[in-house]
Structure formats: structure tokens, C-alpha cells
């Protein structure tokens, strides 16, 4: 593939899409917690914010029985993104918790970016839940551009700016979820399982 100035593909959505994946032990194959945050600036279903938290990824139950939920202020948009993107991401494929997660209304989102190096926090409130996603010890921004063969969905091209976070935590109603950040192979490098992702655009390529 060659870079082209004006991508002929169809722009699907664009915004911010950071994540935190935790494991109880570095030797574990499976993650103990999967979480993604969305601040969508543009989509066919409008704009909106959301966070997915699966603290029991392999359990087919939702909140409050287990901590599997999505909070969003634009449910229609997020149904589309969950179906078209999240379910196709290798980390989420086959996870029973994704289909069973409870959909919660989101009332507010507050970002505390700090200096973009030491700590970055998103705080979401709604439906009786306060969720804090906290990234710490960030590296420099890394611009990425992937073809559909290399993208997480295997169906879209993607542009983004990633910042690796060496530590991260997820706090639900004041209680931190168990697990810690590990390393994984990502874009041909060993990188952390916690990352900020700014200026992310997904494009369906022309067939």
C-alpha cells in the first residue's frame, strides 16, 4: 500500500480511544480487566462519550452482579461502535462479558490531563456509578497509521497518536479493580497494555 494524500475511503468515526488492560499476573494469558474510553467527535450517529469496563470478561453477566458495564451518553452511536469495532478487536473477541455488559446512562465526563506526562484521568458519572480511569507515567506521543490488514478490526484503516502509560488503574465507586499493567507486542514493539489514543480516525477502505 502507498500513502495517498486524500484517502478515498469512507470515514467512519473519529475521536479519542484510550484503553487500560490489566492482568493479575504477568504469566496469565487472559486479562483480568478490559477497559476502553471513547470521546467521539464525529460519527454518523453524532458525538458522544463512553467507557466500557469488563472486570469479568469471560462471565456472561452484567452490573451489578459483576463489574461488566458500558456508560454512555449516546447509546445508538456506541451500539454501532461496539458491533463494528469492539467485537472485532482481538482482545475482546469471544468475551462473554461484552455481550452481557449492562448499558448505563452517562451523566458527565471530566478530564484531568495534568501535564500529559505524570498522570491523566477521565472521570465518568452516571446511573449510580463513578468511574475513574487513570493513566500514569506516559511516554512520548507515537503517530500510527495502519492498513486494514494490520488494524485491530482487520476491516478498517486507522490513524491515531498513542502514548504508552507504564502504570494505570481503574476505580469503580472508589474501589480499584484488581490487576496491573503488563507488556504486549503492539505495532512491532513491546509496549504497555495501557495507552492514551488521541486523534484516532477509522476509515473503511474502498474495495
Amino acid at each position: 500500500m502507498t500513502r495517498v494524500s486524500i484517502n478515498p475511503g469512507q470515514v467512519d468515526w473519529s475521536g479519542e480511544n484510550p484503553g487500560i488492560y490489566l492482568k493479575n499476573d504477568a504469566a496469565d494469558v487472559d486479562y483480568s480487566v478490559l477497559s476502553l474510553f471513547f470521546r467521539v467527535a464525529l460519527s454518523p450517529y453524532g458525538r458522544g462519550n463512553a467507557a466500557i469496563v469488563l472486570a469479568a470478561p469471560d462471565v456472561a453477566s452484567g452490573w451489578p452482579e459483576v463489574t461488566n458495564f458500558i456508560m454512555t451518553d449516546n447509546q445508538r452511536m456506541m451500539r454501532w461502535i461496539v458491533d463494528g469495532w469492539v467485537t472485532k478487536m482481538p482482545t475482546f473477541i469471544g468475551k462473554a462479558g461484552l455481550g452481557a455488559m449492562t448499558w448505563l446512562d452517562l451523566d458527565s465526563v471530566h478530564r484531568n490531563p495534568g501535564d500529559l506526562k505524570s498522570e491523566y484521568r477521565e472521570t465518568l458519572r452516571g446511573s449510580g456509578v463513578t468511574l475513574d480511569m487513570i493513566w500514569q507515567d506516559m511516554g512520548p506521543p507515537i503517530p500510527v497509521e495502519v492498513t486494514k490488514e494490520n488494524s485491530a478490526t482487520r476491516a478498517h484503516e486507522m490513524y491515531s497518536v498513542f502514548l504508552e502509560a507504564k502504570a494505570a488503574s481503574i476505580v469503580v465507586n472508589g474501589s480499584p479493580l484488581p490487576g496491573s499493567v503488563q507488556s504486549r507486542q503492539f505495532f512491532g514493539r513491546t509496549m504497555s497494555t495501557a495507552f492514551l489514543a488521541f486523534s484516532e480516525t477509522w476509515v473503511t477502505p474502498v474495495s
Binding site: 473519529s14 503517530p143 505495532f187 480516525t201
Partner: protein, 209 residues
Amino acid sequence: MPLSEPITPGVVDWTGENPGILLKNDDGSFAAMALFFRVAWSPVGQGQVLLLYGTPGKAEADDGAPNILLSDNAELSHYLLDNFIGKLGAFRDSPAFENLIHVVAQSTRSSGDPMGHRYTETVAGEGYSVELVWEDLEAPRALELTPDQVGTGEHTMFTLLVPAQKAQIIVNGKSLPGAVGTRVQAGMETTSAFLYFSETWVIPPAASA
């Protein structure tokens, strides 16, 4: 350039949103110019900055048409002036550039739908309220431009362009004169009113070494 490496080489200068409105007089000169920055990452932090040339052709602005830089992060506004705006010929060469009044922004707000009909950004502070309005929006297009295709002449740039057929710059309730015109970007004819989302400016390795 072949796309064999998912990580683009170079150093990120800044990333975020960068919509603008360039209104023209009948003779083709600029009647009013505005650029808005919602920066998600820069070396000096996040922030929002509005550059307004209400009177682009004069160092001393006319009443009701100020030449101002409204910002909630003063360090960021200086960073953008020195490293970005000052490299864009249309802004650097304007008499308004040398005499900008720096104003603290107390609120910023966006509304509308960039894939709908109308989108706005409103920035207010210290007696100024500036509303940028884009209407008759076209479908978004993803762009990836090389240094010879961007205004700074120095960066690789990724962005998402949403052209607007109509636009207004409203200062304290009064619409500034001028009309949306045309321009050419990367060989594509487009308009002088535009939304840019998920925009990333990268200094290529040769320049950042």
C-alpha cells in the same frame, strides 16, 4: 511513500482539532480570519486557543473587529504562535499578526453535528464572545499530507477535513463581513471554511534530527 511501517517516523509537534473560517472581500483579500485549536497533546499541555483577525489588513483593529488570541493556556498560545501560526504565510504576513491582543478564555463550547448541517465553536473571555459557525457541511475526508502540501512547509500532517459551504464569524453578537471562498488543498478544490478533526502535525526525521 510506501506504507510498510505502522509507526510514522518523526516527532509529534501537536495533535487535536483545528477548524477555521477565512472570509473574503469581493476583491479576494481577506475580510476576517479565524482559526480555533482544541489541542489534545502538545509539549506544553492541552488547551484551547482561538486566533481571530477581525481586521486582518491593519495592525490596529477596527471597533467590533478585534485582532485577538483567546486562550485557556497561555503557554500553548505562545507555542502555537511561534511554531505553527507564524509559519502559515496567510497569517504571518498579515499586519494583524504583530499586534495581537492576548485574552484569557473563560469558556469554550462546541455544538451541532459535524456530520449534520451545522457546527459551532464559541469562545468567551474578558468582554469578548466569539462564535464560529459552519453550515452546509460536506462529508468528511481523511487527508495525509507531506511537507510540500502543508502551510508550514515542514510537517507531515494527518487530518480529517469537513468542508463547509457557508460560515460566519460572530463577535459579541455581530457577524463580521466577508464571504466563504475557495482554496486548493493537495490538488483538491475546497472551501475556505473548514472543520479539521483528529489533526496531527509530525516533524519528519530529517527535520527533527
